[in-house]
Amino acid sequence: MRWTAHLYQRGLSKHIANNSLTLFLFMTTQLTLNGQRLAVNAPENTPLLYVIRNDLEHKGTRFGCGTGNCGACTVIVDGQAMQSCDMQLWAAADKEVITAEGLSQDPIGQLVQQAFIDEQAAQCGYCINGILMSVTALLKTNPNPKQEVLHDALNRHLCRCGTHVRILRAIDRVIAQINQQVIA
């Protein structure tokens, strides 16, 4: 198990957790958030979502379910779309994390964010930032995804307002823009 292996690496012999007591180990973890190298002093098993929102005060990543089922909290970790409610701080150590606040620094991220604004691909907008992350991570490695690949990425997200049609339209717009740039 990765968790055990990780503790072992750090010289801890066991992890205590039972119904009445959870061991919170306050340690310093280094990570890069939106291009900025940071040290976080928080228990290593803190969900990354709370670290980003509360310790690092980047509020553009949203809590939706806490169990990795809705995608609202998705961030990009070393290029991968990850659900930050379901990922603990230690797993992001020394990695590069991108959130909605940092999207504009990335050429593809900027296109994705702008396309969602241009298409007004939001109603309440609560689920959208997670979707922006998944779409950016996907298009950075695969600028012309097949429909099944796109659906696989999007099916990790729920939208209750029913904005799906516009979200798909915004993604089509970005794909067209990227491919136009490549040709040009």
């Binding site: 509020k59 969602f116 939001a122 609560y126 959208i128 904005t163």
Partner: protein, 704 residues
């Protein structure tokens, strides 16, 4: 100067300074009681305001839903924000504009009719000097009662602004899509996080609780325990969140005795004790040659917002401030005061944007939770509900049954019509009919009694919304069986009874047409006299290719649904093309909407598209489940909603009617969409589905 009739929201908030102020210069302050719920209303209302005052949107300081600073416009609900809130803004801001033009003319020493306003600048053809709203701030008396007159209305011609009718981009989305923007993202100095500890049936009571064990959980600084109200408080949200589940294991609950095991909606609903009332009767019964009858049902449906409920509260110098994503800040303020047994003058509610709101969800309840915890601890509090609470403790959209009976003459026309509705209440909001209706207030020690339910009467209707047919059916009778107590708590969910009643009525129109061997579109048109409805249906039919319906391949169906929401709001027609295999695959949806004069066309299209997709999700997938102890559809696995790969192509057209009164459209699409699906299914499968949701299991049942 003749005084014209004032809109109701002006009558209840008569002071000009309730709506318009020059206290935030150089911006112009505009106040409204209608709040942004994710439906884009802020932008549409700002367009109306800007056109009245000759401003750009960026020149407006917008104040919405603050009980100290905004007018009380009741709830933001019922698709009435443009109809009522917009109409009130036009009158109030028209009066303000008229006074400002007069003041500008005086200051520039020019005739009043030479003044024009554009981009916030007052100018006259007679002089080169120009004035801004700031220049007029000392010369306009806003401490006066609003009036409306022909002269005031005529002064609109002096404004050069034409934002109404344009698809302006929503300003609020820029911050939402890049950082902090929602209530969840706000914090107070020295704030503590709180979580509720509760059972999965919200009206359960505490039998016993191990408070000492809860206090020892990491991160728990305080436990608030009063009656069956139980909350934990601490400064670290991650720890408090982790402690929530562990604390739940420290409580023994007793679920309320009236909760019966779940059975099929139709059987459950018609078996519950209920009233019996003829709610509407019109025309004279004639003798008929044929009688057709059918019954339709819908289950409990969850709001299931992606963002959980959240609120902040703090007490400062004896004044309780509550930040909330409520639909009715003024009503909530009053009921929090009742719940806490303190004077309403010591409570303020300030609206902040929340995640998608589709009706009376958990926003008000979480606001009471925050208020009670802040008052008990003396600490500034931020509380957020869990996903489980969101899906179990939030009021549900009410289940119901509707039965239709149509009698037909020998010319194939309906001459007698009866609808009979069974439903619990569709409105149980704080302040509704003066009732408290706050979950936490029913739980605390010295508990307030659980409020009796009372449904919304006609003409708007709750369970009876859209139960009266607008089709020309001769004699018509509507009978209502209001159920005072359902197994689960119900309140307003987008469309209220209209979703079921339109699903039923539009399915039934197809059934009658089919029984008589008539084309279902022509059959509807034969029973319609209103030219707007007929124009809409013709446009919809040509958009979707209705005339080629009979040549669709086997297994594919095209169906339609149509209604005027509430019989007074927007008209919406929907056609759906689908495939029926082991489940229903919806390929394409077409819709036409007539909402009178459209303020922001893209905003309205967004609402119609969203209404269609949400309705597809309700219709195909959604049903709350429970057992004797608890609601069992408590997470996204057990309460699935529509996924991206299930989304059809959607095309929406608007029939814009400049100069014709604007009609609310936010809830117009759901009922017609559900009926269009069921009607298309008949062509695709040869079977009629009358009971929702249309899951693969249901399909298997009706095919058998």
């Amino acid at each position: 100067m003749s005084n014209l009739t004032l809109p109701a929201n002006i009558v209840s908030n008569p002071k000009l300074s309730h709506w318009f102020r020059l206290d935030h210069l150089p911006l112009v302050t505009v106040c409204t009681g209608k709040v942004e719920l994710g439906q884009g209303i802020q932008t549409a209302l700002q367009q109306i305001a800007a056109d009245e005052l000759g401003l750009e949107l960026a020149q407006i300081h917008w104040v919405a839903g603050d009980t100290q600073l905004s007018p009380d416009e009741w709830y933001t609900a019922g698709s009435l924000s443009v109809e009522n809130g917009g109409a009130a803004l036009k009158v109030a801001l028209g009066h303000a504009r008229y006074l400002c033009i007069q003041a500008a003319a005086k200051q520039l020493d020019v005739p009043i009719d030479t003044i024009s306003i554009a981009k916030g600048v007052f100018s006259s053809s007679k002089v080169s000097q120009q004035l801004s709203y700031a220049d007029l701030s000392l010369s306009v008396n806003l401490d006066q009662e609003i009036i409306s007159s022909e002269a005031i209305q005529a002064s609109k011609h002096q404004v050069h602004s034409a934002l109404v009718g344009k698809s302006l981009l929503r300003e609020d989305l820029k911050s939402k899509l890049s950082g902090a923007a929602f209530i969840h993202d706000f914090s107070l100095p020295n704030m503590r996080h709180a979580r509720m500890i509760r059972a999965k049936h919200v009206q359960s009571t505490i039998v016993s609780v191990d408070l000492e064990k809860i206090k020892q959980l990491p991160g728990v600084e305080q436990v608030v325990h009063s009656g069956s109200f139980l909350a934990i408080v601490g400064h670290n949200e991650a720890q408090i969140d982790a402690a929530q589940e562990k604390a739940q294991a420290c409580v023994v609950w007793r679920s309320p005795e009236y909760v019966a095991q779940q059975v099929e909606t139709e059987a459950m609903i018609t078996a519950l004790p209920a009233g019996d009332e003829i709610a509407y009767e019109h025309g004279t019964k004639k003798s008929a040659v044929k009688t057709i009858k059918a019954r339709y049902s819908r289950p409990f449906i969850a709001h299931a917002s992606i963002g959980p409920a959240c609120a902040l509260a703090q007490v400062t110098d004896g004044i309780l401030s509550v930040w909330s994503h409520t639909q009715g800040p003024h009503l909530l303020k009053n009921q929090i005061a009742v719940g806490l047994r303190q004077d309403a003058s010591t409570v303020n509610v300030i609206h902040l944007h929340g995640a998608g709101c589709y009706g009376h969800n958990s926003a008000d309840d979480v606001a009471f939770d925050a208020a009670f915890i802040a008052k008990s601890t003396g600490m500034p509090i931020r509380i957020q509900w869990s996903r489980e609470e969101e899906l179990t403790a939030t009021p549900f959209g009410a289940p119901g049954v509707i039965e239709f009976q149509a009698e037909v003459d020998d010319a194939g026309k309906i001459i007698n019509w009866q609808s009979e509705v069974w439903s619990p209440t569709h409105i149980h909001r704080p302040g509704w009919s003066g009732k408290l209706n706050l979950l936490g207030a029913w739980m605390i020690d010295l508990a307030h009694p659980i409020d009796e339910t009372k449904d919304n009467p006609l003409p708007q209707g709750g369970g009876l919304r859209n139960a009266i047919t607008l089709y020309d059916v001769g004699y018509q009778q509507v009978r209502h069986h209001m159920i005072p107590q359902a197994p689960l708590r119900t309140s307003a969910l987008r469309g209220l009874g209209a979703y079921l009643n339109i699903f039923g009525m539009e399915s039934f129109m197809d059934e009658v047409a089919q029984e008589l061997g008539q084309d279902s579109l022509e059959f509807r048109k034969k029973h319609l006299q209103d030219p707007r409805s007929i124009t809409l249906l013709n446009q919809l039919a040509s958009m979707a290719g209705w005339s080629k319906r009979d040549s669709l391949p086997e297994g594919i169906g095209l169906g339609m649904g149509f209604a005027r929401y509430k019989n007074t709001g927007a008209y919406c027609g929907v056609m759906v093309q689908l495939r029926a295999e082991e489940k229903i695959y919806i390929d394409q949806v077409w819709a036409v909407c007539d909402a009178g004069e459209v303020i922001n066309p893209d905003g309205l299209i967004n609402q119609i598209e969203g209404g269609i997709i949400q309705s597809i999700s309700w219709t195909l997938k959604e049903m709350v489940t429970w057992n004797k102890e608890e609601v069992t559809s408590a997470n996204w696995d057990t309460y699935p909603i529509l996924m991206f790969d299930e989304v059809p192509r959607v095309e929406v057209q608007l029939l814009n009617q400049p100069g014709v009164a604007s009609l609310g459209g936010g809830e117009a699409a759901a009922g017609p969409t559900a009926a269009a699906i069921a009607n298309a299914l008949v062509q695709a499968l040869g079977m009629r589905a009358r009971h929702l949701p249309l899951t693969p299991e249901r399909l298997a049942q009706i095919v058998e």
